[in-house]
């Protein structure tokens, strides 16, 4: 347990240069965006003198490195500045929108895993028969259709067949669970479909690989029930590559939320980022990037830590 604790601390400390690096890169990149933030803030009616004043107030007249460190020193204190357009606090906006993206991503992962693991196992057990064929075809479709196309087709299907469209807006899942689930059901299906497809493919091939191993033959020859062999012996060992894939794919899922939030008009961080990008609202873009980079890094760390619970042979150093 001590090893795990040291490892977690090490990994968490390792996140710092990663997050610093990505925010620095994005900060430099945003600096090259054509357009003057002071002018954007003032709109068409601002004079050059007013723009100059805003530039001084916002520190935009200072060198790039100084501005980055200013931004960083404020960011570590939780102050991410103000939106150039709405003048609202970026931290406030992010805090308001984070639950949407978080719930969407979490439910997307849960849905994929709940659907994909059994499908992958069934596919592996029934290798090369008709059931396996259908599962593989569905998986192939799942990874080949972009999530926004799945979203649009789902909306079309439900509105045409059942005359039903998901309710607009967003409510907290803990406050109004039924309404929240109704709002999120199609976005979660669209977001999770491709992860479900790749997880089921990986589970199938990983199970097939493990089922060939000697220890499975030993388990069968000592008379264990097939169910025990499959779940206690094979699945546990087959899960490592599956977990790696899930960890890698959660990043894509985070990226996917940008598009899904746009399709379903969900007020999450992805949509905030898009609005920020369209309006050249750089404090908003930086804030969103920071939250996404930290979330991505934390998720990857958590996935690495989870390995030890599944496979105690994995040592941490």
């Amino acid at each position: 347990m001590i090893y795990i604790r040291t490892y977690i601390i090490k990994r968490l400390l390792g996140l710092i240069p990663l997050v610093l690096g990505i925010t620095f890169l994005v900060f430099i990149a945003i600096n090259f965006i054509p357009g003057d933030p002071a002018r954007i803030m003032l709109g068409v009616e601002g004079t050059e003198a007013m723009a100059e004043q805003v530039r001084q107030e916002m520190g935009l007249d200072q060198p790039l490195l100084i501005r980055y460190f200013n931004w960083l020193s404020q960011a570590v204190r939780g102050d991410l500045g103000y939106s150039l357009l709405t003048r609202r606090s970026v931290s406030y906006e992010l805090a308001r929108r984070f639950p949407v993206t978080f719930q969407l991503t979490l439910l997307g992962v849960l849905f994929s895993v709940i659907i994909a693991l059994p499908l992958g196992i069934i596919s592996a057990i029934n290798r090369d028969n008709i059931l396996d064929f259908f599962i593989r075809v569905f998986s192939l479709i799942g990874i080949s259709l972009p999530n926004f196309a799945i979203g649009i087709l789902l909306i079309l299907f439900f509105s045409r067949s059942f005359n039903w469209t998901p309710p607009a807006g967003f409510v907290n899942i803990w406050a109004q669970p039924t309404r929240a689930l109704l709002i999120l059901v199609l976005p979660v299906l669209s977001l999770g479909a491709s992860l479900a497809a790749s997880v089921s493919r990986m589970t199938r091939s990983s199970m097939l690989e493990v089922l060939k191993k000697d220890f499975i033959r030993t388990a069968r020859s000592k008379g264990l029930k097939e169910r025990v062999v499959l779940f206690n012996h094979a699945l546990k060992n087959a899960l490592i590559p599956v977990l790696t894939l899930i960890g890698l794919q959660i990043g894509y899922l985070l990226g996917g939320t940008v598009i899904i939030e746009e399709v379903f008009s969900l007020p999450g961080i992805g949509r905030l980022l898009l609005t920020g990008i369209h309006n050249r609202d750089y404090p908003v873009v930086m804030g969103c990037i920071l939250v996404i980079a930290i979330s991505f890094a934390i998720i990857n760390t958590m996935v690495d830590i989870t390995y030890s619970f599944i496979d105690p042979r994995i040592k941490y150093d």
Partner: protein
């Protein structure tokens, strides 16, 4: 270069994927012969027409022929896919060869930078690059290409690390070959298999990313035909003209499936060690 026949003998599903890819490339090249319409030609009287003999995939809200736009959209998708993956492969190969061959500080700098790029969702990286460069066809290809550089750098470096210890490299050094000749003539040909396999799979991903960027209004700009942009333009009218979202979706799906099948097939033939999914 592996030919389609060799692939067909070993993996017929991969060969089918390759064949569809080939057909798509031909369709993209001969697009003007396949359709009498122009992809941007509006015919307001026939707007939102369902599929018929005149318009086999129907028309959109401007009366533009959907079939024509999908066929021309194939040009955009394939062009973006190939050039952006090309950018990723060439840059990744160069950086991977340098990092893996010279090791030391150069390796550390290159790989830490690649780790940094990988520590962020690819689509968002592409979004940031597009924001800086401005949305158009060339910048879309550059943005997607950049997201693939770390992937190919890692693969190339990994392969170089194992090849550089082989005896033929030692022999090359012993007869006085310089680094450049060793890298280009002896190491590079031996590390290409996994890169070709990954490139064929990356094509599918690049086509999906282009569709996503164009869907968000940050890729190919209207009225140029792009499958992603077509979906974005049509989704508000899908209740009255569902064909305007169904056909572009099918086009993306067919293209991505065929590249995936082709890539999987190539992997089985060229690099069986990498086989990791069913």
């Amino acid at each position: 270069m592996v030919n389609l026949l060799r692939l067909a003998r070993k993996n017929w599903i991969g060969a089918v994927g390759g064949l569809i890819v080939l057909i798509l490339i031909i369709i993209a090249i001969i697009a003007p012969i396949l359709t009498p319409y122009s992809p941007t030609e509006m015919n307001v009287i026939d707007r939102n027409s369902p599929p018929s003999r005149d318009y086999i995939f129907g028309t959109d809200r401007f009366g533009r022929d959907q079939f024509t736009r999908i066929v021309y959209g194939a040009r955009v998708s394939l062009q973006v896919g190939m050039i952006s993956v090309g950018i990723g492969v060439l840059s990744g190969l160069l950086l991977g060869l340098l990092a893996g061959y010279y090791r030391g500080i150069l390796d550390s700098i290159i790989m830490r930078f690649m780790d940094l790029l990988l520590s962020f969702p690819a689509i968002l990286l592409a979004l940031v690059v597009i924001t800086v460069l401005g949305p158009d066809l060339t910048n879309t290809m550059i943005a997607i290409g950049i997201t693939y550089i770390p992937v190919f750098t890692r693969i190339a470096r990994g392969s170089v690390l194992s090849v550089r210890e082989d005896e033929f490299i030692l022999a090359g050094r012993a007869i006085g070959l310089n680094d450049w000749r060793l890298i280009t003539r002896h190491i590079m040909p031996n590390i290409l298999a996994p890169i070709i396999v990954q490139a064929s799979l990356a094509l599918a991903g690049a086509i999906l990313t282009e569709a996503a960027l164009s869907f968000l209004g940050l890729g190919i700009q209207p009225p140029a035909p792009s499958w992603g942009a077509m979906l974005n333009e049509s989704r508000r009218y899908m209740e009255i003209a569902p064909w305007t979202v169904i056909f572009p979706s099918l086009a993306i799906m067919l293209t991505v499936i065929s590249f995936n099948l082709f890539g999987d097939g190539l992997r089985d033939v060229l690099d069986p060690k990498l086989q990791n999914s069913g």
